[in-house]
């Protein structure tokens, strides 16, 4: 995250266009880092390597792997799972174990080939993990800034809702 990006994010988050509950949630997420608690060290490294291919990101900026680990450790779920699938944590462990030895050090193309293999062998776990990583990615204030998403800055209102009818704060937010 560049200094400029951080400053732009904080400037909008701290403005009167963002309500207090929204600001609290997004400020906390902006810098959150989670210590590894659920996965073993080797599993965690492998998950990090997998996550980088599935949802390309800079792990110094976005702690996607830590977010997944934290969620599993806390025991919070999303309300359902496929009846023939293992509980999320076990299913993810099985998925990681199915990747070839040394996956973390393979080159990108070889990693992608291996990923296609586990995608067909463990479709439910693959889908769940992909969705969870995608959620953590899209919910992050930095991603939202880079995509020019300003939907959280909804106070006091959106006076116009038609195509191309943007407020100044929407136009201004995001990379030039």
């Amino acid at each position: 995250m560049t200094v400029e990006e951080r400053s732009a994010v904080l400037s909008l988050l701290n403005s009167a266009h963002v309500t207090e509950p929204t600001r609290r949630a997004l400020l906390e997420r902006l810098d959150v880092r989670y210590e590894r608690e659920f996965f073993g060290e080797a599993e965690f490294e492998r998950l990090r390597a997998l996550a980088l291919r599935l949802v390309p990101h800079n792990p110094a900026e976005l702690n996607l792997t830590g977010t997944v680990d934290h969620r599993l450790h806390s025991g919070v779920g999303d309300g359902w799972r496929y009846a023939d699938a293992l509980p999320d944590g076990e299913a993810y462990r099985e998925l990681l174990a199915a990747l070839p030895d040394g996956f973390e050090t393979l080159d990108g193309d070889a990693q992608d080939t291996a990923i296609h293999g586990v995608q067909s062998a463990h479709p439910h776990a693959f889908e769940d993990l992909l969705a969870e990583l995608t959620e953590a990615f899209m919910a992050h204030p930095l991603t939202q800034y880079r995509f020019g998403y300003a939907g959280f800055a909804d106070a006091p209102e959106w006076p116009r809702v038609g195509p191309n009818e943007l407020e100044p704060r929407e136009v201004a937010y995001g990379p030039r």
Binding site: T22, G77, L130, F137, M138, R146, G162, P163
Partner: protein, 517 residues
């Protein structure tokens, strides 16, 4: 005054669940002077605490794990299952079309499915009352269904980008559209027990909770009214058992803050929804002489089609379902039909649906998501026939409270598959016409219905046409589990109509009884 955490005694009525099934009747019965209380597993979510952020709002959803089986496993949690005082109305999009008369007579019309054991004319006065009370915003003339006796209370909400695209595309192929009926305010409204509900600010986060009280969720409407008339609402109270004496229900046992507590009442109304209601009945072995508890689980055909356009649409703005067409209410070759609606969408919902629906990953995924501001959606809501094999059962797996997790088997039948294909083709054509690119379809099933069906015959149904269980004196059910068929419209408004109707039936019963000594 009793301390706030003390439990009421000598209750006339205990209601389990405060969503669209439990809340209207709670208010009606309290207003009639009965001593009533409601239990809800969730907690209160006042508007001022609602964040414009999907992850922060996860607490609005039922996140205890359910097991999804069958050929078309249903996703629960954020897709359709609320938790909180107000139930799923905390996250509904406030889409409130009426059912049409023929929705209630599917078997008569097609020889399959089920007829409802009541007439449209019995629902109509309740629809009328509800649209006024909730403050539905809608068009001056609604093009489908019988003429209404009274216009919608408020003018329609503004059409967002997706709604305008759908309007244009439908016009090109000769499909009629209309601004939809939404229970969110286009003008401020006074609400007894709550105060002033403000005009919708076009914050398209209805599915993550309304932060300004514009949306008619139950907490700011019927529950506020109920409490103003003396109803007690106990939140954070997960019911674990119904208690019985001499074959009659006497109350409910519940867990609150780790303690097991009990409330007694003359009458218990189960309004916990089409998953928790049958789960509780099956755990207790109650009301199931028909063997129908848990059977006929239905979820609407709800396929969505998404695309991206050149225009900057900002799909987070405006009421998400702004435009409707019911021109496909009947389609040759299909049993029943569907409605079509435009869709705005919140970013995380869109992103995770795209990931699950397309299984795209890597740079391709990120590239697509970066176009979020240009996304427009359209979806359908269509009839799902009741099938015995689509059912809820108790699994051997236990949840955190030691209660069996429910397992829900769901597979589309031939009609649902045909409807899905018909709807996808139509929506792809519409999005082609607006020049959308990267068009993709997400087959899905929406809402939880059935599992304790209503009917006149005790051998084939769980509750009678007013909501009394056939088997257990004093036990009523009023939630979407009693729907005999799915209807080709969103269920919330009809659910509330059934709730008021059940309350009136119960009041009628009480009037006919000798006063309690």
């Amino acid at each position: 005054m009793a301390p706030a955490d003390s439990l009421p005694t000598d209750l006339d009525i205990l209601v389990i669940g405060t969503g669209a099934g439990g809340a209207p009747l709670l208010a009606r019965l309290a207003s009639a002077g009965l001593k009533v209380a409601a239990l809800d597993a969730g907690v209160r979510h006042p508007p001022e605490g609602i964040a414009t952020d999907e992850v922060a709002q996860l607490g609005l959803f039922w996140t205890d794990e359910r097991l999804s089986a069958g050929n078309d496993p249903v996703s629960f949690g954020r897709n359709n299952s609320g938790r909180g005082v107000g139930g799923s109305t905390l996250h509904y999009t406030a889409y409130t079309p009426r059912a049409q008369p023929d929705d209630l007579k599917l078997r008569t019309e097609f020889g399959v499915g089920e007829d409802w054991p009541l007439e449209f004319s019995e629902l109509e006065p309740y629809y009328d009352e509800l649209e006024y009370f909730l403050g539905v915003s809608g068009p001056a003339e609604y093009p489908w269904g019988p003429p209404r006796k009274r216009a919608y209370r408020h003018p329609p909400l503004p059409l967002n980008g997706a709604a305008r695209l759908m309007q244009k595309a439908c016009a090109e192929i000769g499909m009629k559209t209309s601004p939809a009926a939404n229970a969110a305010l286009s003008r401020p409204q006074e609400q007894e027990g709550y105060g002033t509900r403000h005009t919708c600010t076009n914050r398209g986060f209805c599915q993550a909770g309304c932060s300004i009280g514009a949306k008619a969720s139950m907490d700011v409407t019927f529950l506020a009214l109920a409490e103003a008339h003396g109803a007690r609402i106990v939140d954070g109270a997960q019911v674990t058992a119904l208690t019985m004496k001499n074959g009659r229900v006497t109350g409910a046992e519940f867990m609150r803050g780790g303690e097991v507590e009990h409330l007694s009442a003359q009458t218990v109304i189960l309004a916990a929804g089409a998953v928790e209601t049958p789960r509780l009945l099956l755990m207790n072995g109650l009301a199931n002489s028909s063997g129908q508890v848990g059977r006929n689980f239905m979820a609407h055909v709800g396929i969505q089609v998404w695309g991206q356009v050149e225009d900057d649409l900002r799909p987070y703005k405006g009421i998400p379902g702004g435009l409707i067409s019911e021109d496909t209410h009947r389609v040759p070759g299909l049993i029943g039909g569907y409605l079509l609606q435009s869709l705005g969408v919140m970013p995380v919902t869109y992103a995770t649906q795209y990931a699950r629906g397309t299984l795209k990953w890597g740079p391709e995924l990120v590239q697509h998501l970066s176009g979020y501001n240009h996304v427009a959606g359209i979806n359908v809501l269509g009839e799902c026939l009741p099938y015995e094999h689509n059912r809820l059962e108790l699994s051997d797996e236990l949840d955190g409270r030691g209660l069996p997790k429910p397992r829900v088997h769901f597979s589309f039948g031939e009609n649902e598959q045909k409807m899905n294909a018909h709807a996808e083709a139509l929506m792809r054509e519409l999005w082609d016409r607006v020049g959308a690119r990267d068009v993709w379809a997400l087959p899905r099933a929406a809402h939880t219905l059935g599992t304790a069906r209503m009917g006149s015959n005790p051998a084939t149904s769980v509750v009678d046409p007013s909501g009394r269980t056939h088997d257990v004196p004093g036990l009523w059910i009023c939630d979407n589990s009693i729907f005999p068929s799915s209807l080709s419209v969103n269920p919330a408004l009809t659910q509330m109509a059934l709730s008021l109707r059940t309350a009136d039936a119960l009041l009628g019963d009480l009037k006919g009884q000798a006063p309690r000594s």
